[in-house]
C-alpha cells in the first residue's frame, strides 16, 4: 500500500469534515474520491498532502508515518483546482520550480533541469509553448502545465483537486481520456477529487464514495454502479427509482402493490426502501399482472436507440403524501411494440431491485 490514512478526524468548528476515515490506496492505482459538496473529499485530499492538519489520525506514505511531516517534505504532487500557476513565470519556469528550489546539493544542474522539464512538457504535449506565460494558455493547457509541474519533483503520490472542474464540457472529456492514458504510462499512485460521477466512473480504477465525512463504499467503478452498498450510493450514482414500503416475506408491499425481491437480510414486517435503475424496470400493459406498481404514462422521450418513459403514480396512491415519479429506459423496439399513450395505466415490474431497511435511508 503506498498510501494509507488511519482514523482521520477533522472538524471545522462545529462542522465535522472527516469522521474517523480510514482508507488504503493501492500502489499505482488511480482512485477517485467522489461525493457531493461538503462531503469531506477535498479536506481528505488536503490532509494527505499536508495542507490541512487532521485533529487526529495518521497519514502513512510508503510505509512511513508522514502525519507530522510538513507539506514541503512530503513529496506529494498536488494539482490545484484553479491550477495555481505562477503567472510571472513562463511555462518552463513553472515546471522547473520544484527542481530549482531544492537544496543546493540535491539540485540538478541547469542543463539537467532543462532536460527534465522538456521531457515532461513533451509528455503533456506542451513543449512548443515552453516560453509562454500562463495567461497566454487555454484552460486545458494550464491544467496540463500544472500536472507537469507537480510531476517534476517525482512525487510519491499525485493528488488532484477537481482536476477538470474549471473546464468546459468538451475539453473536459478530452482531458479525462488523456489523464487516463497518462496514468497508464506513468503508473504514479494518484488520487483525484470529483463531484462528477461520470468522471469518476470513467477515469478511475477505484472509486471511494464519501458522504458527510464518512466513507460509504470503496469499489471498482462497475461494482459501485452495479452493487451500491448503501441507499446514499444508490441515490448518488445515476438515475434511480425509489419505492417505499414494508417487507412481507419475499415481497415488498408498496401501497396495494407487491414487488418481489431476493434479499435475505431484511426482517419480515420492517419498513423498507427499495431501489431500481431505469433500465431495470419493465412496463407491463396487461392489467391482470399480479405484481408491479401501478403508474400512469406521463411522457415518452425518444433519444436514439433508447427510449425514456416518464411515469407518475396513480392519483390518490401518493406515498408519504408525495406523488411518486418513475423513469424507465428501454430499447425503442420494445416501446414501439407496447404502443404507449399518454395517460395510459400500466404496471412497473422490476427485473432487479435492492432493498434496504428504512432507517438507513
Amino acid at each position: 500500500m503506498s498510501i494509507q490514512v488511519k482514523e482521520i478526524h477533522k472538524q471545522f468548528g462545529e462542522f465535522v469534515a472527516l469522521d474517523q476515515v480510514s482508507l488504503d490506496f493501492p500502489t499505482g492505482a488511480l482512485t477517485a474520491l467522489l461525493g457531493p459538496s461538503g462531503c469531506g473529499k477535498t479536506t481528505l485530499l488536503r490532509v494527505i498532502a499536508g495542507l490541512e492538519t487532521a485533529d487526529s489520525g495518521r497519514v502513512i506514505l510508503e510505509g512511513e508515518d508522514a502525519s507530522d511531516t510538513h507539506v514541503r517534505q512530503r513529496r506529494v504532487g498536488f494539482v490545484f483546482q484553479h491550477y495555481a500557476l505562477f503567472r510571472h513565470m513562463t511555462v518552463l519556469e513553472n515546471v522547473a520550480f520544484g527542481l530549482r528550489v531544492k537544496p543546493r546539493r540535491e539540485r540538478p544542474d541547469d542543463a539537467e533541469i532543462r532536460r527534465r522539464v522538456h521531457r515532461l512538457l513533451d509528455l503533456v504535449q506542451l513543449d512548443a509553448l515552453a516560453e509562454r506565460f500562463p495567461a497566454q494558455l487555454s484552460g486545458g493547457q494550464r491544467q496540463r502545465v500544472a500536472l507537469a509541474r507537480a510531476l517534476a519533483v517525482e512525487p510519491r503520490v499525485l493528488l488532484l483537486d477537481e482536476p477538470f472542474g474549471a473546464l468546459d464540457a468538451q475539453v473536459r472529456k478530452e482531458l479525462r481520456r488523456w489523464l487516463r492514458r497518462l496514468h497508464d504510462e506513468l503508473q504514479v499512485t494518484s488520487i483525484f477529487v470529483t463531484h462528477d460521477q461520470e468522471e469518476a466512473l470513467e477515469v478511475a480504477d477505484r472509486v471511494v464514495l464519501m458522504n458527510r465525512g464518512r466513507v460509504e463504499q470503496v469499489d471498482t467503478p462497475a461494482e459501485v454502479y452495479e452493487a451500491p452498498a448503501t441507499p446514499f450510493v444508490y441515490g448518488f450514482l445515476g438515475a434511480v427509482n425509489v419505492f417505499h414500503g414494508r417487507i412481507e416475506g419475499p415481497h415488498l408491499r408498496v401501497g396495494e402493490a407487491t414487488l418481489p425481491h431476493e434479499q435475505t437480510q431484511v426482517i419480515h414486517g420492517a419498513e423498507a426502501v427499495a431501489f431500481s435503475r431505469p433500465h431495470e424496470l419493465r412496463i407491463v400493459t396487461d392489467p391482470d399482472t399480479p405484481h408491479g406498481v401501478a403508474a400512469v404514462v406521463e411522457r415518452v422521450l425518444i433519444f436514439g436507440a433508447d427510449v425514456r418513459v416518464e411515469l407518475d403514480s396513480l392519483p390518490g396512491a401518493a406515498v408519504r403524501g408525495e406523488p411518486a415519479h418513475y423513469e424507465v429506459v428501454m430499447p425503442r423496439a420494445q416501446v414501439d411494440a407496447l404502443a404507449l399513450t399518454r395517460g395510459q395505466r400500466v404496471r412497473l415490474v422490476p427485473s432487479q431491485i435492492r432493498v434496504f431497511p428504512s432507517q438507513a435511508a
Binding site: R72, G77, M89
Partner: protein
Amino acid sequence: MGVATFFNPTRQTRVLPGFGLALGYTLVYLSLVVLIPLSAVFLESATLSGSEFWAIVSSPRVVATYKLSFGASLLAAAINAVFGLMLAWALVRYSFPGKKLIDALVDLPFALPTAVAGIALTALYAGNGWIGSLLAPLGIKVAFTPLGVLVALVFIGVPFVVRTVQPILEDLETELEEAAASLGANRLQTFSKVLLPTLLPALLTGFALAFARAVGEYGSVIFIAGNIPMVSEITPLIIITKLEQYDYAGATAVAVVMLVFSFLMLLAINLLQAWSAKRTGRNR
C-alpha cells in the same frame, strides 16, 4: 458640433441621458480650476529666455534643494516600501490585539493636516522631545537637520505603500503558496520567488506614489527641517522664498522643474498600475 458628438464619433445610441451636460460641465470646470491655472506656470516661465531659465534652475542654492528633496524623498519612499510591506503583511497575515485600530490609523497622514504633523514630529524629534532626547546622547540630531526632513517624509508616505500592497495581499490566493510548498519550496523561497514578484508592481506603485508626494511636500517638512540654505532647504520652500521676494520669474522657473517631474511620475505610476493589473490579474 456639440461636446457629445465630438466625443462620440461612432454615434451609438445612448439610452441614458445627461452625457453632454455631464461631460461638458466636467471639461469646463476642469479647465477653469486646473488646466488654465496650471498652464499659467508654463506661460509665465516663457517670459524668461533659455539662459535665464537655466541660470535660475541651476543656481547652487536651488540645486542643493533638489539634492535634498529628491534624495530624502527617495530614501523615505524606500523606507516606506520596506516597513510598509511589513505593516501590510502584519495587518493581513497575523492576528494581534488592536489590529483594527492600527489598520484605521494607517491613514492618519492622509487625514492629519500637514502643519499639525509637522509640529508634532518636531516636538517628538527635537533634542528635548521623547524620541530626540533618546537619540541625542548617541550624537544623532534629527530636528532641524536633513534627517528631520527624512522623518517628515517617511511620515507622510506611510499610507501609500500599505494601501497599495494590502488589497493585493488580501486577494492573493493561498493556493499559490500551497503550490510552492507542495513543490518543496521553503518559506523564504516562496516569498522571494512567488510572493515578491507578484507583489512587486504594487510595491513599486506605492513607492512611486510616496516618492511623488514626498517631493512636493511642504507643511510637515518646514517645521522640522530648520530650513538652512544649502543644508536643509527643500525645493517647495525655495519657491515660497522667491515669491516672498517678489521674484515671480524665479519661483515659476523652479515650479516648472517640479511640475515636469510630477508629470513624469504620473506617467510612471500609470504604467506601473497597468503592469500591476496585468500581473495580479486584477482589472481596475
